[in-house]
């Protein structure tokens, strides 16, 4: 039981700090209090009404984050499932080369490609454009999708495809009417993964988005840090508002998420 208390304290300390500071007034932040002396939701009100000069585009930036998240999720599911259908179900020749390429991408740290990626986006004329971030995140989310889709796809009998084929179904019909419905759990797992990846990612968003109107919430939030007198209570309130959607999605789809994450190694 004592161990359980230790685990809770370890886990919740930074999160408690976030909530505590968000509930404090600016003056109370700079005291030695360990709980908010006069708790209030004033900071949250400031955030949702954009009532501070650093927050003037908060909802616009939140919309940017949503836009990026949705686009990354849809593209990852589409590109990943098409590729794994071609490799795993249709068994296209040299398909293994593509799955190895995906595996290789999965084990390269994204931050190591950031500098050339930035240069290339400048060349493509996509600098300061949300689509540069979307492409970057799709690039790093899709390999995981292909990995999970091919593993899950093997539990679906190939006879389904074959009988549809004998009835004269084209590959695109098999993809839409048999493959996608059967893959629903894997699609949920990978979709959640892609959305959370987009929500977690900072480096590419920071490098590629520079104007206030094109920024996403994490980039705007980190900008606070550079200001002379960081308004910690507003920052923490912003952080909590930003953290709520993924938390809700995570706890809603938690079961499916971990299913995929167990990976092949489980069987030893």
């Amino acid at each position: 039981m004592a161990f359980g208390v230790l685990v809770v304290v370890w886990t919740l300390l930074p999160l408690y700090n976030m909530v505590m500071v968000a509930l404090e007034s600016h003056g109370d932040v700079f005291t030695d209090a360990i709980w908010p002396p006069h708790p209030s939701f004033a900071s949250f009100w400031i955030v949702v009404t954009e009532g501070y000069w650093y927050l003037e585009f908060f909802w616009h930036q939140f919309g940017n984050s949503l836009y990026v998240g949705a686009a990354v999720t849809i593209l990852t599911l589409l590109i990943g499932s098409l590729a794994s259908f071609s490799i795993g179900r249709m068994r296209i020749r040299y398909g293994w080369l593509v799955s190895n390429a995906a595996l290789l991408t999965y084990v390269i740290p994204a931050s190591f490609l950031a500098i050339p990626f930035y240069r290339i986006m400048q060349n493509y004329g996509l600098a300061n454009n949300l689509w540069s971030v979307i492409f970057a995140e799709v690039t790093f989310a899709t390999p995981y999708g292909i990995f999970i889709f091919s593993q899950y796809g093997r539990s679906i009998p190939i006879e389904l495809d074959e009988s549809a084929r004998i009835d004269g179904a084209s590959p695109i019909q098999i993809y839409f009417h048999i493959y996608l419905p059967m893959m629903a759990p894997a699609l949920v797992a990978v979709g959640t993964y892609a959305l959370l990846l987009a929500w977690n990612e900072y480096l590419y968003q920071f490098l590629l988005l520079s104007s206030k109107r094109s920024m996403t919430v994490p980039v705007a939030l980190a900008q606070f840090l550079n200001s002379d007198e960081a308004p910690w209570n507003y920052m923490m309130a912003t952080a909590i508002v930003y953290a709520l959607p993924p938390l809700a999605i995570y706890y809603a789809f938690r079961g499916r998420m971990t299913a995929g994450l167990t990976m092949g190694g489980v069987k030893g």
């Binding site: 919740l12 931050s111 950031a114 500098i115 899950y152 539990s155 994490p218 489980v266």
Partner: protein, 305 residues
Amino acid sequence: MASASVIGFSSPAVARRIAPWRYLQGGLKGSEYNWAIAFLVPYVAVFLTFVVYPAFYGLWMGSDPSLYTELFSDPIYQSTVVNTLLFIGIAVNLKMFCALLMSGFFMRRGWWVKALLMIYVLPWAVPALPTFISIHWMLNGEWGLLNNAIYQIFNVDGPSWLNSRWFALGSAIYSHIWKWMPFWTVILLAGRMAIPQELYDAAKVDGASGWRQFVHINFPLLANLYLICTLLSTIFTLGDFNSVFFISGGGPANSTHVLATLGIRDAFDLAKPRLGVAAVMSALPLMIPVVIVLMRKLRTAEVQL
């Protein structure tokens, strides 16, 4: 798999018997072949445009040998290499070992263990950036929560965590472990749950104690998964930008950079992108062997499943 409901994963890939892979009867016919290629085109295009092209662009940017003379003679780079090795060595091993122990703990039954697990996975479910900024302020020497708590309890002033190299690096390592330990715990927990209960029952009949169970059942069955996770985590940790950037910011006086943050600093703060690429490329001798072993492991694991 009643106990699987602890984290409630329906784990189809593990639980279900998987039919052997085989080809469509008669292979692909003319138009089907075209479809198969068309389905593959989007991913291949993404891979070529956003992985191969940047990778070769990076290799070209970092190909000038004089960059490396400049890099290796930089004292900041030298301390960065030490930091990176310490960061990986300590963070990866400590995190994985604790995750292994925690996954054993979460195998227990009881409602409060389930409730605890729901709380325990929070660091992973909350986005990285908000919590790292929170930890940054929490560790503030003057007004941070941690030192306030230390003062209230022990009536002494805590150290200023982010103002000395070793405390700041330790804080970054702490944040990394805090953020990523739940993730690996869940993976190892799933690995433990895939072990058939009969093995434990048989061991019990033979009178094997907890420790002997671990040596003869858990360890052999988990060793491969643990190795894969450790290698994967090594790569991910090598590329971890956020925990150092937001906790210590590389400071004080650029003494706590790791290669991932130093590359970005050189490229964008100093406006020397080629030097930044060189800093990142200098990690390749460490990275390539790990990637090769990992690729093999992941491939064979895929075949076995």
